[in-house]
């Protein structure tokens, strides 16, 4: 039985889109490491990133890890994904949102001693938007979840 012309066109378009979708999906899976904006410390360890290779690392700034080095301009802190931790050195102005337990993305390279020297530090904020009064209230009651925001890993 011959298909009606518009049924045939519908079939053509749907089939074409499905094929294209599949191709794009395959390409994106293959390019996963390129599409991703940063590696977590665990992912970086898995991929055995060489010293000097420029990469971006993302994670939470570890509590009580931020300090100024003796030279007075370098900030040292550790970023963590709760499994692996990396020590970062950065010379420069930190973003407003930079603080303990904040998500950050650092861009730079490992030194041979596995210290990560960052050229750029970007702050990453989470998807929760609450007014100031509410966050104050939650903090008073000890219910504030913001700091426990899931780490930059998935």
């Amino acid at each position: 039985m011959a298909m009606k012309a518009k049924t045939r066109r519908l079939f053509f378009v749907s089939f074409g889109l499905a094929l294209l979708g599949g191709a794009v999906a395959l390409a994106l899976v293959a390019l996963q490491d390129t599409v991703t904006f940063f590696f977590t410390p665990s992912q970086a360890a898995e991929r055995n990133i060489q010293p000097g290779q420029r990469v971006r690392l993302g994670g939470l700034v570890e509590e009580k890890s931020i300090k100024k080095l003796a030279d007075g301009v370098t900030t040292e802190f550790r970023i963590t994904d709760q499994a692996k931790t990396v020590t970062v050195h950065y010379k420069g102005v930190l973003p407003d949102l930079f603080r303990e337990k904040q998500g950050v993305v650092v861009q730079g390279a490992f030194q041979p001693d596995r210290v990560f020297v960052a050229a750029t530090v970007l702050a990453k904020h989470d998807e929760n938007y609450v007014p100031k009064e509410l966050s104050d209230e939650l903090k008073k009651q000890g219910l504030w979840q913001h700091d426990k925001a899931k780490p930059a890993t998935k």
Binding site: V35, L122, K124, E127, Y129, K132, A152, T153
Partner: protein
């Protein structure tokens, strides 16, 4: 449904429909955007201040998120209209696609611009090549390509057909934009509104945000009706001119 859609193909009937609908969409757009802006900028509470939060900066959300929503929604409309034109030969399909895509391009540009301002303040970067930002940039280029292709041929019918195929191909990008923040590590934060645990935005901020989203949507329908009416008039003028030349 499809019978009713086909009834609108009659230009006179479409004109009557547009005339009836326009005052409604225009007034609703003005009311929602006006109220949403005043509420969002002056009445809604600011976000928690730095260092814990974003303070007043968060108010750009009332323009950024509605623009982002519209740039996706308009693209879906362009693609649906193109499918209607290619598959069912609906006479309004190409006209709607042609009328909508420059509006969508503007929304995409507004999304990129407001996002850039927000990122400069909060992330410390105007632009990064993460999956969300890049896929929205590609959406903007798809719109530009669609507009260019529409006008690239002497015969408007050929341009419309080529543009419709491009519009359908670009549909692949829509789920990529939506899920980019879940599939890959991105600098952009994950979804705040359409997510499994419900919205992560406080109700006092969500209300003006939704007002703005409705306002932007009504604005789009207003402009779409106006532009589609103008496109129909242009088609008619062209047909008349051709007939005069032939006579």
């Amino acid at each position: 449904m499809s019978a009713r859609l086909h009834a609108l193909a009659n230009p006179a009937r479409f004109g009557r429909f547009a005339r009836r609908a326009l005052p409604w969409t225009a007034w609703l757009a003005a009311l929602c955007i006006g109220a949403g802006l005043v509420w969002g900028v002056f009445i809604a509470p600011p976000g928690a201040p730095p260092p814990e939060g974003q303070g007043e900066t968060v108010r750009i959300i009332y323009v950024h998120v509605p623009s982002a929503w519209m740039s996706l929604f308009v693209y879906a409309c362009v693609a649906a209209a193109s499918a209607g034109a290619l598959i069912w030969r609906h006479p309004l399909g190409h006209i709607v696609a042609r009328a909508a895509s420059p509006v969508g391009a503007c929304f995409a540009l507004l999304t990129l611009a407001t996002g850039s301002l927000w990122g400069a303040k909060m992330w410390g970067a105007w632009w990064v090549w993460d999956a969300r930002l890049t896929s929205v940039l590609i959406l903007f280029f798809l719109y530009l390509g669609h507009i260019a292709l529409t006008h690239a041929f002497d015969d408007p019918a050929r341009g419309a057909r080529a543009a419709a195929i491009l519009a359908l191909v670009g549909v692949v990008n829509l789920p990529i934009i939506k899920f980019s923040v879940d599939w890959w590590n991105t600098l952009h934060q994950p979804a705040s509104i359409i997510r499994r645990d419900g919205p992560a935005i406080d109700a006092q901020m969500l209300a003006p945000l939704f007002l703005m989203i409705f306002g932007f949507t009504f604005y789009f329908f207003t402009v779409l009706l106006l532009r589609a009416r103008a496109e129909l008039a242009a088609l008619r003028t062209r047909a008349l001119k051709l007939r005069m030349l032939a006579a």
